[in-house]
C-alpha cells in the first residue's frame, strides 16, 4: 500500500547498533534468585500492596491494587513466597528507594487460574477495567496505563490509530524481535484497541531498517484478515517518538498542551498490543517483558524477562566483558545509568546496555555555546534549545517557559549535535523539575494563604458573635430584672385579693396590716425562684438533646454508651436516664 508520508523537522542519525542483538531468537530468561517488584511501575496513582511478608503467591497473582483511575495493577511474576514488602532502590536516575514486594521464587512457576475472555461479549468499560487489572501499560517506555488511552474523544471522531513499531533508539531491538516472532498476537492485540477506539484507519509504523519485522507484520495482518496498513518509515531518530510517528504517518502535529485524541488520533506501542492480547485472550497479566541486553557483552540478544529480575542477574546471561562499568537502562539517547546494578527490571525496561568507555567515550569538557544553531536544526519539536539553555543555566525559568520548554520531549538530539558538548537535555530536565517544584510550592502557598485568611475571618466572626451574645444576654438580664420588679410590685394587690378567702378566718384584720411586709417577702421569693429556674434551665441544657423520637436501636446504643460510661466511672450513675425509663 502506497502512502504519502510526512516529515518532521530535525532529527539525527546516530549509529543504530541494532544488528548485534538481532542474530539470536528471543530467549526465556531463567528464574532469578529473587524478584523485587516495585509497586509504582506506571504513571498515576501508586498501587496499594495487598500482600504481606510470608504470603504465598502464585504467578500472576495481584500484589498491588490499582489506586485511582490512572493507575495499573501489579502482579507476582512467578510463584513463591513474599519475603518482604519494603523500600528498595529503584531503576530511576535519582537512585532513591520506593516500596517493593520482594518474592522468593519456589521454582514451580505456577500460574493462577487463567481465564481467557471473549472481549467481543464484554462492554468496552469491562475491557478497559480488565486491562487495568492486568497491569497493561505502555511498554514503549512511558508506562502510561493503557486503559486510560482507550477512550475516544467525545467531540472529535477517531481518524487514525498509530501503532508504534518504529523503535528508533540505537541498540534496542526488543520490538523488532517481538514483531518478527510474535506478529500474530501483536496484530490481534491491535484488533482489541481498534474495536475499543473504532478508528477509520490503523497504521503500523516500522522504521525501514527492520524489513524482517515489517514483512512478518504484513504476513500476520493478512493471516488474521485485518486491513491494517504496515508502513515503513524512514530511519531517523526520534521517528519512534509518539508525536513524531503520528506526524510522519498522518501529518498531524500534536501540541504539548493537547491530547492526541483531540486531533482524532491515538498511538500505542506494539509490545503494549501484545500484552493486551495476552491479558484478554489468555488471562495473563503483565508479569514479564522483552528486554534487549546488549552493549559491551559477548552475546547480545533479547530475553523475555520477569518483572523484578535484578539487572545484574539478567546482564550475566549475556556475559558482559570485564571492563563493563555500568548499566544503561533504555537506549543511549534517552536512557540513564542505573544507580545500582541490583535494581530490578520494570515494565519500562526495554533495554540494558553494558556501558564501557569504548562504546561510549567519556565526554570532552563542556565549551561555551557559540550559538551555532545546530541544536535548533536538530530539534524535532522545532524549539530553540540554545535559548532555553541560556535561561535554564541562568535559572530564569519564566523565560524558559516563554521558549516552550515544556514542548521538549528530552529526546537528546540537541545534546547529540552540540559542538560545544553542552548537556542541553540535562539543563532542560533541571529547569522542568524546578518549575514543577515551584508550581507545587506556589499551590501550597496559595492554599495556606486561603486557609489562613479563612481562619482569620472565622476568628473575627466568632469574636463578633460572642460580643453580640454577651450584649444580648446582658440586655435580657436587664429586661428580666425589670419585669420581675414590675411583677413584684403587682404581687401585693393580687396576693391580698387571693389571700382574703384563705386568710379570712383567723386574721382578716391583719392582712391589711402587713401588706407591705408580704409584698417584700414575695418579691424575694420570686427572685430566688427565678434564679433556681434559670439554674435548672441551665442544667437541662446540658442534658442529652434530641432524645425524643429515637428509634429503639438508637436508644439501645445510647444506653449501652451510658452503661460503658458508668462502668468507666466517667459519670455518676443516674437513677433513670430517659432511655432507661423507656426500656424498663
Amino acid at each position: 500500500m502506497l502512502m504519502n508520508l510526512f516529515k518532521f523537522k530535525g532529527g539525527v542519525k546516530p549509529p543504530t547498533n541494532k544488528t548485534q542483538s538481532v542474530g539470536l531468537p528471543i530467549a526465556i530468561a531463567p528464574l532469578p534468585s529473587k524478584l523485587v517488584v516495585p509497586l509504582h511501575q506506571s504513571i498515576g496513582g501508586m498501587p496499594r500492596p495487598v500482600v504481606q511478608a510470608g504470603d504465598k503467591v502464585l504467578k500472576g497473582q495481584l500484589i498491588g491494587e490499582a489506586d485511582g483511575r490512572i493507575s495499573a495493577a501489579v502482579h507476582a511474576p512467578t510463584s513463591g513466597t513474599v519475603v518482604d514488602v519494603a523500600m528498595h532502590i529503584q531503576p530511576h536516575p535519582s537512585g532513591l528507594d520506593a516500596l517493593c514486594v520482594v518474592i522468593e521464587p519456589d521454582g514451580k512457576d505456577e500460574w493462577i487460574d487463567r481465564q481467557p475472555l471473549d472481549y467481543a461479549a464484554m462492554s468496552p468499560e469491562q475491557v478497559r477495567e480488565h486491562l487495568q487489572q492486568s497491569g497493561v501499560v505502555g511498554l514503549g517506555g512511558a508506562v502510561f496505563p493503557t486503559h486510560g488511552k482507550l477512550t475516544a474523544s467525545k467531540t472529535v471522531p477517531m481518524e487514525e490509530m498509530v501503532i508504534n513499531g518504529a523503535e528508533c533508539e540505537p541498540f534496542i531491538t526488543c520490538d523488532d524481535l517481538l514483531m518478527r516472532e510474535r506478529a500474530e498476537e501483536v496484530v490481534r492485540g491491535i484488533g482489541i484497541f481498534r474495536d475499543l477506539l473504532r478508528p477509520k484507519k490503523v497504521l503500523i509504523g516500522i522504521e525501514d531498517n527492520k524489513p524482517e519485522a515489517a514483512a512478518a507484520m504484513r504476513a500476520a495482518v493478512a493471516a488474521v484478515g485485518e486491513d491494517f496498513a504496515v508502513i515503513q518509515v524512514p530511519t531517523l531518530y526520534p521517528a519512534g517518538g509518539a508525536k513524531q510517528l503520528i506526524r510522519v504517518l498522518t501529518g498531524k502535529e500534536v501540541p504539548a498542551a493537547k491530547r492526541s485524541t483531540d486531533l482524532g488520533v491515538q498511538c500505542f506501542n506494539v509490545a503494549t498490543a501484545y500484552t493486551a492480547w495476552r491479558a484478554i485472550a489468555h488471562g495473563e497479566p503483565v508479569v514479564s517483558r522483552l528486554v534487549t541486553v546488549t552493549g559491551n557483552v559477548h552475546d547480545p540478544r533479547n530475553y523475555e524477562v520477569l518483572i523484578g529480575t535484578p539487572m545484574d542477574e539478567l546482564l550475566k546471561l549475556a556475559r558482559p566483558h570485564p571492563d563493563t562499568d555500568g548499566i544503561i537502562m533504555g537506549g543511549p539517547m534517552m536512557g540513564f545509568l542505573v544507580p545500582d546494578v541490583h535494581v530490578p527490571v520494570i515494565k519500562a525496561t526495554n533495554c540494558l546496555i553494558a556501558h564501557d568507555d569504548r562504546l561510549f567515550p567519556p565526554k570532552a569538557p563542556e565549551m561555551p555555546c557559540i550559538r551555532c544553531g545546530a541544536c535548533a536544526q536538530a530539534c524535532p519539536h522545532e524549539l530553540q534549545p540554545f535559548e532555553m539553555y541560556w535561561f535554564s543555566r541562568a535559572k530564569n525559568f519564566g523565560k524558559t517557559q516563554e521558549y516552550n520548554i515544556f514542548d521538549c520531549i528530552e529526546c537528546g538530539c540537541c545534546s547529540f549535535v552540540c559542538p560545544s558538548r553542552i548537556p542541553l537535555v540535562q539543563y532542560f530536565r533541571f529547569a522542568k523539575s524546578e518549575i514543577w517544584a515551584r508550581e507545587r510550592e506556589k499551590n501550597a502557598a496559595d492554599q495556606a494563604k486561603t486557609r489562613f485568611e479563612f481562619k482569620q475571618l472565622r476568628e473575627e466572626r466568632e469574636k463578633a458573635d460572642k460580643a453580640e451574645k454577651l450584649a444580648k444576654a446582658a440586655a435580657a438580664q436587664a429586661a428580666k430584672k425589670a419585669a420581675e420588679a414590675a411583677a413584684a410590685a403587682a404581687v401585693p394587690a393580687d396576693a391580698s385579693a387571693e389571700a382574703t378567702p384563705s386568710a379570712s378566718g383567723p386574721a382578716p384584720a391583719q392582712t391589711s396590716a402587713v401588706p407591705a411586709v408580704d409584698a417584700e417577702k414575695a418579691a424575694k421569693m420570686a427572685t430566688i425562684e427565678a434564679a433556681m429556674a434559670r439554674a435548672k434551665a441551665q442544667r437541662e441544657a446540658v442534658q442529652p438533646k434530641n432524645t425524643e423520637n429515637l428509634t429503639s436501636e438508637q436508644q439501645r446504643a445510647a444506653s449501652d454508651i451510658e452503661a460503658r460510661r458508668v462502668a468507666a466511672h466517667l459519670i455518676e450513675p443516674e437513677p433513670a436516664t430517659p432511655a432507661g425509663e423507656k426500656t424498663e
Partner: protein, 338 residues
C-alpha cells in the same frame, strides 16, 4: 558515576567547526595571494600569532582553561578575517593592534567565546579605519609587483612606504571618481578600463570574490552555515544596486560589480554568518542578511567609506537580539496559531 543522556555524541567540536571555516577561506586566500603576492600570507601569519598571544594572555588573566580555549580555533578565524579585510601591505603594527583589540576588547571583555555581541574582526576593522584612515586605504596599485623581500620591508616598516602603495581598491577608485566628477561622468566608461576593473569588478578582485563564494558554498554543503544569510545578503544587495543601476546606469554600478568587489562575498558567507553575533532564527537570519546587504550598499554608495560591509554587519549585530526575539519560530504543533 554521573553522566546524563545522551551517551552517544556526534563527532563534532568547536575547533572542528573553526578549522572548517579556515579551510573554506583557502580558495579566496589563494586567489588573493596570486593578486597581491605573498604579503597576504605574511599578514595572515602576523595576525594569527597576535591573536593567539592575545588570547593566551586574556585566558591567563581571566583564569580560564588555556589549552581548551586556545585550541578552539575561534581566535584564528578572527585573525584571518582581519588579515583578509586589512590592506595587504598595511604596517605590521596596524594588523597587530587591530587583532589585539578584537581579541581583548571585542571578545574577552564581553565574556569570551560565544558571548561577544559584535563580530570581533569587524570591530577591529571599524576601529582601525576610524583611527588610521590613511593607512587603512592604502592598497597596492594595480599591477604593482613586489617580491617577498620588498613586501616584507614595507610591512615591517624597513622601507619607505612607496607612492605606488597609495592605490585604492576598485570600490575606492570608483567612489573617488564619482565624488570628483560631480555627476558629469559615466560609470560605464570608467568600468571599461579593464586594467583596473577587470571583466566585472576589478582585475583579480573578482577572482578573490569567486574564491570566497566557492568556500562559502562548501560551508553550506557541510551544513556549517545555512543558506539564509548569504542568500538574503546577496539578494538585497543585488536588488538595491540593480534597481538604481537600471534607473541610471551612468551613475550607479551594476549589481555584478557590487557583488564581486570589496568584502561582499567574504561578508555574505563568512562575516554575516557568524552565529555568535548574528541572528539564529530562520526568519531572523533572512532579515539579518538582507539588512546587512542593504546597509553595505547604502554605505558604499552614499556613505563616507569605500566599503560598507564592516559597518553594515556591526549595525546588524546591534539589532540581532531584537530580531531574534521578534522572529521566534512556532514550535511543533503550534503552527496554525502563530
Amino acid at each position: 558515576m554521573f553522566a546524563p543522556a545522551p551517551f552517544l555524541l556526534k563527532d563534532v567540536s568547536v575547533s572542528q567547526v573553526m578549522i572548517q571555516v579556515c579551510v573554506a577561506l583557502i580558495p579566496g586566500i589563494a586567489a588573493y595571494a596570486s593578486l597581491v603576492g605573498p604579503a597576504i600570507l605574511v599578514q595572515l601569519a602576523i595576525a594569527t600569532l597576535a591573536a593567539l598571544a592575545a588570547e593566551a594572555v586574556m585566558l591567563r588573566i581571566l583564569r580560564k582553561p588555556l589549552a581548551m580555549f586556545l585550541t578552539d580555533g575561534s581566535a584564528i578565524v578572527t585573525a584571518w578575517l582581519i588579515a583578509l579585510t586589512f590592506p595587504p601591505l598595511a604596517p605590521w603594527w596596524l594588523i597587530v593592534t587591530g587583532t589585539v583589540f578584537a581579541i581583548v576588547v571585542a571578545k574577552h571583555l564581553y565574556g569570551g567565546l560565544g558571548q561577544n555581541p559584535f563580530n570581533p574582526a569587524m570591530v577591529a576593522f571599524a576601529v582601525s579605519i576610524v583611527s588610521f584612515p590613511a593607512l587603512m586605504s592604502q592598497w597596492p596599485s594595480v599591477g604593482l609587483q613586489l617580491g617577498l623581500v620588498d613586501q616584507m620591508n614595507v610591512i615591517l616598516g624597513w622601507a619607505p612606504r612607496l607612492d605606488a602603495l597609495s592605490g585604492a581598491t576598485p570600490l575606492d577608485a570608483m567612489k573617488t571618481a564619482l565624488n570628483l566628477s560631480d555627476g558629469s561622468f559615466d560609470v560605464t566608461a570608467l568600468l571599461a578600463n579593464q586594467d583596473i576593473y577587470g571583466n566585472f569588478a576589478g582585475r583579480g578582485w573578482e577572482w578573490v570574490s569567486a574564491g570566497y563564494l566557492l568556500g562559502g558554498l562548501w560551508l553550506w554543503h557541510r551544513k556549517l552555515i545555512t543558506w539564509h544569510v548569504p542568500l538574503a545578503f546577496m539578494a538585497s544587495l543585488t536588488a538595491l544596486s540593480g534597481a538604481l543601476w537600471l534607473y541610471n546606469p551612468s551613475q550607479f554600478a551594476s549589481p555584478l560589480f557590487h557583488m564581486l568587489s570589496g568584502g561582499a562575498m567574504l561578508g555574505a558567507f563568512f562575516i554575516a554568518t557568524d552565529p555568535v553575533s548574528g541572528c539564529t532564527t530562520p526568519r531572523g537570519k533572512l532579515i539579518f542578511g538582507a539588512g546587512a546587504g542593504l546597509l553595505t550598499y547604502i554605505i558604499r554608495v552614499f556613505g563616507g567609506y569605500p566599503d560598507g560591509v564592516a559597518f553594515a554587519v556591526l549595525l546588524m549585530n546591534l539589532s540581532a537580539p531584537l530580531i531574534d526575539l521578534l522572529t521566534q519560530p512556532p514550535v511543533f504543533g503550534m503552527k496554525d496559531k502563530a
